[in-house]
Structures are given as C-alpha cells and as structure tokens.
C-alpha cells in the first residue's frame, strides 16, 4: 500500500515551495509597481504587519509558550519556537545593548531566498525579506509590545550574514513584567 499522497516527499516539497515562490512573485510584482526600493520595502513591511497580527493567534494556539517576563525570553521564543514552526529554521540570538532591549536574530539559513541568487538589477536597497520584519512587528504589537524591526545586515546585499534587529520601545507606563494575553 503506498503512502498517502500528501506524505510523499515530492509533495512536501511542492508545499514548501508554494510559499517561497508566491513570495517571490509578490516581490517581483511590487518591483513592477514601485520604482523606489524604499517603497517596496515599506509595502512588504506593511503586508507583513497585517500577516503578523493574525499569525500570532495561530502561533499562540499551536505552541505552548509560557508567560514571558523579559524581552530576551520573548526573543528566544521568536527564534526557537516561532521561526522553527513556520520556517523550519532557528536563528541565533544576540543582545546588543546593556539595557537589554536591543536584540539581533542572525539567520544562517533563509528559505525565503532559496531561489534568489542576487537582487534584481538596480535594486540594491531592496530588503527582499522585509515581510519578515513586518510579521514580527505586527505579532509583537498584538501582545502589546512596540518594537522597531529591521534588517541590519543582508547576505543578498553582500553582507556576511543576514541579521534582523529588534528594538523594544519603552512606553511611558511600561510595567516591569508583562502579561502575555
């Protein structure tokens, strides 16, 4: 008896490729619609934000994360649970400052760029994966955390690593311990 169709390895591959290919088609379309790289980047971030606000529900429903008491715990969860669940990768985490509100996620592998060898001609400032920044920002917003999320380094731009910087913004009435909803 052969294995169920959807478990065959080639179909797993198609499923994984579907998102990556669709994302590529989206970026290509946005490059057609917008001349300036900054505009494409902004649009990707905005779309990512919309996705993130909804993805966080899916994440919380499927993972058994405990309440977090610090920014670094949250970053660990993003890197070790969320990235693993959705993209199958585990970026490494670094804390960039002593007040412990600036962090970096360093992506060794990145499925989103699997079919991208280099940025399109004339698109040197394009943050190809900017959707990811928006997703993280939108998801954090839904748990009442404001953060700036942006690419600090990008292999596609010639840097040695791909690094996402997450800076938690302090709000005036911020409590020391945050309750996760």
């Amino acid at each position: 008896m052969s294995r169920p169709a959807h478990r065959r390895p080639e179909y797993h591959k198609i499923n994984k490729d579907l998102f990556v290919l669709t994302y590529g088609a989206l970026v290509a379309q946005l490059c057609k619609d917008y001349e300036k790289d900054e505009d494409v980047n902004k649009y990707l971030d905005k779309m990512g934000h919309g996705i993130g606000t909804r993805l966080v529900e899916d994440f919380l429903a499927r993972s058994c994360v405990r309440r977090c008491h610090s920014y670094s715990e949250i970053i660990d969860i993003i890197a070790q649970v969320a990235f693993k669940m959705y993209l199958g990768i585990t970026p490494s985490v670094a804390c960039n400052n002593s007040s412990r509100n600036e962090f970096s996620l360093i992506l060794d592998k990145n499925p989103l760029v699997e079919f991208v060898e280099e940025l399109p001609a004339g698109r040197t400032s394009l943050c190809y994966c900017n959707l990811l920044c928006g997703i993280i920002r939108g998801a954090l917003e839904m748990v009442h955390l404001d953060a700036d999320v942006a690419f600090l380094q990008d292999r596609l731009k010639g840097d040695s690593v791909t690094e996402i910087g997450i800076t938690f913004l302090k709000k005036p009435d911020e409590k020391k311990y945050r309750r996760k909803k």
Binding site: A5, E10, N15, D58
Partner: protein, 161 residues
Amino acid sequence: MVDAVLFEFLHTEMVAELWAHEADPDPGPGEQKMNLLVLESMGFRVGQALGERLPRETLALREELDVLKFLCKDLWVAVFQKQMDSLRTNHQGTYVLQDSSFPLLVRMASGLQYVEEAPKFLAFTCGLLRGTLSTLGIKSLVTASVAALPACRFQVVVQRS
C-alpha cells in the same frame, strides 16, 4: 520546512492589499478586472514554477484527462492538503473541477454572504492551475465560480491551436 499556513496568510494579505491598492472607494469594473488579472498572473508564474518541480512521471503524462486527474488529486493535495471533490468533462476540452470546501474560502463565512468577494480569492488559484497546465504542455483558460461558500468550481477550457 515552511509551514503550509504561511501561504494562506500571505494569499489573504495579497488579496486585501491588491484591493486597497487602488484606494478608489468605488472601483469601476475595469479596475477590478485589473487587480484580478494581477493576482491571476502571479498565480500563473507560481504554477509554472511548481510545474517544473513535479515528479518526472508527471511530465510524461500524455493524455489530457490524465493531466487533469493529476491536478485534481496530486497537485491539489500537495497545495491544499485535500483532493478536488469532482472532475467532469465533455471530452471536448472543457473540464469542470469542483471543490466543496476550498481551503482559501473556508475562513470566510459559509453560505451566500460573501459570494461577491469570492472571485478575489480564486484568481490566484486559477492562475496557478493555468500555469501548471502550461508547464505540462496544455494551454488553457481557467475561470472559477462560486455558488455558495466555501464550495467553488474551476472551469478549464483547453485552447487547441
């Protein structure tokens, strides 16, 4: 392993954004069509690329009906984790593929409430089908219709030169 749910979220966002893009509170039928075309052509590109990644034996399918059966079973399962519910044909190049519970429509309310919005959620998939067929050597026109969510119907008309 990229999670299947990411595609669904991305697709929903694309539909929402490509519509808001026009920022026209009352887009004329011409503008609506343009957005549908954009989604469809994106789906086409992805379908073509997916077609190139199919197992070898698929590319060797010679009979048109076999290719359509493949789309209904294997491709649909690979993409949407379920098979198409029915396939009908007039044996003269027209095929009707019916999905009683199309995953990209399931999150919307069921029944008649959002039938008008449904085409936006089907355009990409129509393109996907058309693109995959194209890689498999079949030129076609693919349209979709919805009677009541989440059931929908894809019509494939093979273009013979």
